[in-house]
């Protein structure tokens, strides 16, 4: 809703036609003589050799999967082998045109792209830089082991290092590039520009778009490449990513000098099959993949269909697209047609294609074709291809022999170190903020909305002890805003986006006034693309940025499910700690709007390993924990209750400090002391629990109310200490009870506090049915009387109190009915 862009009916409603550019198809027409003149014969022979290396490498994996042996080496490889035999021209052609500083993001079938990019970096990086990279990785240990085992030096050692590190990773050995935590479909080696492969189809599109955002803002003169197959064009998140990279605002609103789009190449390796579904003609409507560019931007993403069986046609196209990206004309798309001569995997019986078709494409085998072209151009002598194949086979054999040797590539020792993988989930590191404000941010005093916050009382109670209205005292919303603003002002690596985040200030106004002082490239409105919002946050963080993204309602987590659960949560561990993911995902939990706008999904998020989770309920906690989240090098999901945005600080008489501070993750906070029972609350449940505690006190029962504040991590000691004192434990949550964090807490307290418990722990959550509308909500979210009922019935039955709530039902009968 930027006011700079007028929606003028006299312009909008004028008759006209939408024109889309004509998209070139197989337009490559350079002569071989021109290629030899431009590139030199050695570079062309090297490209052929790289194709041979990839073919032999994947042939080795195929042999292990099919026969359990390769060139006399027996090995039981149990992991995936999604091979790209027949697609080497696309991978090597692309790498020919990329700079070592460019970053590729792979797919599940990216061995070839990884090797081509890595071999390109080995061939082109200055030798001193190569040496430094090899010395820096794992303290030089991998380099030393490879050098000792394979006996080479210089660039040859770097090539062995690449092949061994990658193969050991595919075999998930401890000294693979990612410590054995990634494997075939998740391998990466950032120093060579090989960013993660990704087992989720199309997932790299959004991550590479976010990576490109960081590269644009860092002005580092390099591009990112999102690798995907033709089948990925059926994935919504891929479309979201292409649009995210092509948004109109880059050219029309941003003042960062970065041009009209993000510098990302969407590189579709189009092998005509999405596993067994045929894209053109069966599962997709585009007929030509490149057509989809026309649906995204007026430039049609500069899309072209390119012959992927010819590495030089691919190199030519990638070089031209790369120049467009560096000129700020991105994003761009290439439809690179080629053919997977092997099966999708070793269980592929080719039920979906004919032998005749495969034979036709064997005639178009990129290696056979390219070698013949080089021979007829006089670049490759007679018999040279055989010699190269022999040399490459011996090289791969030597590397393989080393990688299957447990002395050289030891398995991950989980018996000796059972929690090793667990320790890779989080770094628990935090960043420090530069003391000086970042450039380009105006003085907050320039914003009337921010001046309004500055005028407010810090404490939530006036001199007479009465609670102040939200307009007169710092609210939870203001407290969040203060921490976020502090980070935005002091750290220009931090970029915030989400729907309605800019002028509107977010749907619930946390960023109100921010657009007065922050430029577009620090705070921008995202499209309604939750998948791209989160995926881009992940990519932006992988490349050295820090990401703050918002999902308007927590209910929209489902729209970003893969991005949160598989990408944001897992990359730190899958990289064995090489990657940091400073991503803060804000999700507000609704109220009053019924089933699809009011559900508390903390149970879902806390179930997924790899995400820190906070749910503050008071302004003081919100400010300190938001600061901790923004400082965290680990990904954090922040739940915010819409019912609490207007809460003022009533627990701390001194109110919310005006200065910046951080609170530690994982420390629950006693909000009310008592000796008769312990109530652990999650998020807004704090307030009905406190109201229930006040009621219970009238009956002479003193509840200790502990606000969880953080769900992951969580230190149980304060809770167990309380239970040791009270002997009774109740957890209250607004999440549906089944599978909730409250149930986890109750089970943990039952186990570790058993000796002190006088009654079974109890959980009161929302029911295992839909959130009803506003007028029925009080029957759904636990109310003070529900809490008091449960306390009296479960912990003090001898008092025979009247029940006031509705929850007089048989939980076991409900469970049998699926409730």
């Amino acid at each position: 809703m930027p006011k700079e862009i007028l929606v003028d009916p006299s312009q909008v409603l004028r008759p006209g036609r939408v024109e889309t550019p004509a998209l070139p198809v197989h337009a490559y027409a350079r002569t071989m003589a021109a290629e030899v003149a431009a590139r030199g014969a050695p570079a062309l022979i090297e490209a052929l050799r790289h194709m041979l290396v990839i073919r032999e490498f994947e042939g080795m994996l195929a042999a292990f999967k099919a026969q359990g042996a390769y060139r006399g080496i027996a090995y039981a490889y149990r992991g995936p082998a999604h091979l790209s035999i027949g697609q080497e021209g696309a991978a090597v052609g692309s790498a020919l045109a990329l700079d070592p500083a460019d970053h590729i993001y792979g797919s599940h079938r990216s061995h070839g792209e990884f090797l081509a990019k890595g071999l390109g970096a080995v061939a082109r990086l200055p030798e001193a830089r190569l040496d430094a990279i090899l010395a820096a990785h794992d303290g030089g240990r991998l380099r030393d082991r490879v050098a000792a085992a394979l006996g080479r030096a210089g660039r040859a050692l770097a090539e062995d290092f690449l092949l061994f590190g990658f193969l050991a990773e595919i075999f998930m050995k401890s000294n693979g590039f990612n410590g054995g935590m990634g494997g075939s479909m998740h391998a990466f080696f950032a120093p060579f520009g090989c960013y993660p492969n990704n087992a989720i189809v199309g997932a790299s599109a959004g991550i590479a778009a976010g990576a490109a955002l960081r590269r644009r803002l860092a002005k580092d003169g390099a591009i990112t490449v999102a690798h995907a197959g033709d089948g990925a064009t059926g994935c919504g998140p891929v479309w979201e990513a292409m649009n995210f990279a092509a948004m109109g605002q880059y050219g029309r609103l941003w003042q960062d000098g970065g041009g009209r789009g993000l510098p990302v190449l969407f590189f579709f390796t189009n092998n005509f099959y999405a596993m067994g579904g045929q894209t053109s003609g069966e599962t997709m409507g585009w007929e030509r993949l490149s057509r989809i560019g026309a649906g995204v931007s007026p430039t049609a993403l500069h899309a072209e269909t390119v012959d992927g069986t010819n590495p030089l046609a691919v190199a030519d196209a990638v070089a031209r697209k790369r120049a467009l990206l560096l000129a700020g004309e991105g994003p761009v798309l290439l439809d690179v047609e080629c053919y997977r001569l092997c099966g999708h995997s070793t269980t592929d019986a080719n039920a979906y294609r004919t032998r005749d078709e495969i034979r036709l494409w064997e005639e178009a085998d990129p290696i056979r074709r390219f070698a013949a072209t080089l021979e007829s151009a006089g670049v490759l002598g007679a018999g040279a291809l055989d010699d190269m194949q022999q040399e490459v086979a011996l090289r791969i054999e030597a590397v393989t022999r080393a990688a299957v040797d447990p002395a050289l590539a030891p398995p991950v020792d989980l018996a000796g170190d059972p929690t090793r993988i667990g320790r890779l989930m989080f770094s628990h590191r935090e960043t420090t903020l530069p003391p000086a404000p970042a450039p380009g941010v105006a003085d907050p005093a320039a914003s009337a909305a921010l001046r309004a916050i500055a005028r407010k009382a810090r404490a939530g109670r006036g001199a007479d002890g009465a609670e102040l209205p939200a307009l007169r005292a710092i609210t939870l919303r203001d407290a969040l805003a203060e921490s976020i603003l502090h980070h935005m002002i002091h750290d220009d690596r931090l970029v915030a986006w989400g729907e309605e985040c800019r002028e509107w200030g977010g749907a619930f106004g946390v960023y109100r006034g921010f657009s007065d002082i922050l430029p577009h490239h620090r705070l921008f409105n995202a499209p309604i693309s939750e998948a791209a919002i989160v995926a881009a946050a992940v990519g932006h963080a992988m490349e050295g940025g820090r990401s703050l993204v918002e999902l308007m309602y927590a209910d929209f987590i489902g729209r970003a499910g893969d991005e949160i659960f598989n990408q944001m949560a897992k990359w730190q561990a899958m990289s064995a700690g090489a990657l940091s993911l400073p991503v803060v995902l804000r999700a507000s939990v609704g109220s009053k709007y019924g089933a699809q706008h009011s559900q508390d999904w903390t149970g879902l998020i806390t179930h997924i390993p790899g995400l820190k989770v906070i749910y503050p309920a008071t302004p003081y906690d919100a400010k300190g924990l938001m600061a901790a989240a923004l400082a965290s090098e680990d990904p954090v999901v922040v739940f915010e209750s819409q019912r609490l945005y207007d809460k003022v600080e009533t627990h701390r008489p001194e109110g919310v400090p005006a200065d910046y501070y951080r609170l530690p993750f994982g420390v629950p906070d006693v909000k009310r002391a008592g000796g008769d029972l312990t109530i652990l609350t999650i998020g807004p449940s704090l307030y009905p629990a406190l109201a229930a505690a006040a009621e219970l006190a009238v009956a002479g029962i003193e509840a200790e109310v502990i606000d969880a504040r953080t769900l992951v991590p969580f230190d149980y000691r304060p809770v167990l200490e309380s239970v040791a004192k009270t002997g009774r434990f109740l957890a209250v949550t607004e999440a549906s009870e089944r599978g909730s964090f409250a149930q986890t807490a109750a089970a943990t307290v039952a186990r570790h506090g058993f000796a002190h418990l006088r009654a079974a722990p109890r959980v009161i959550g929302a029911q295992n049915w839909i959130v009803p509308g506003a007028d029925m909500e009080a029957t759904y979210f636990p109310q003070a009387h529900d809490i008091a009922d449960a306390v009296m019935a479960d912990f003090f039955p001898e008092r025979r109190a009247n029940r006031r709530g509705l929850r007089d039902w048989d939980d076991l009968a409900l469970a049998r009915a699926g409730l």
Partner: protein
């Protein structure tokens, strides 16, 4: 009787902004006290707990600010007069 040369000024009131809103803060005066404003000009930005919005001058005339920036006013209270 000749017409009154100085008709009663037109008040600018805090509008009713939804059933849950009782008051609003004057966040920023976009025009200064004493300015001549035209009907439809945005003159003041106000903020409730739910939203921020700009109010327009209901009539043309000279602006007399009655509630300064930073004050909180109830729904129906006079923010300014234009006459």
């Amino acid at each position: 009787m000749p017409p009154d040369p100085t008709p009663d000024p037109t008040p600018v009131l805090v509008p009713q902004l939804g059933t849950e809103i009782a008051e609003a803060e004057v966040t920023e005066w976009l025009r200064a006290d004493g300015d001549t404003v035209a009907a439809g000009d945005p003159i003041v930005s106000i903020t409730t707990t739910k939203m921020a919005l700009e109010l327009e001058a209901p009539v043309s005339g000279r602006l007399r600010i009655r509630t300064p920036e930073g004050e909180i006013a109830a729904v129906g209270a006079i923010l300014a007069e234009i006459g």
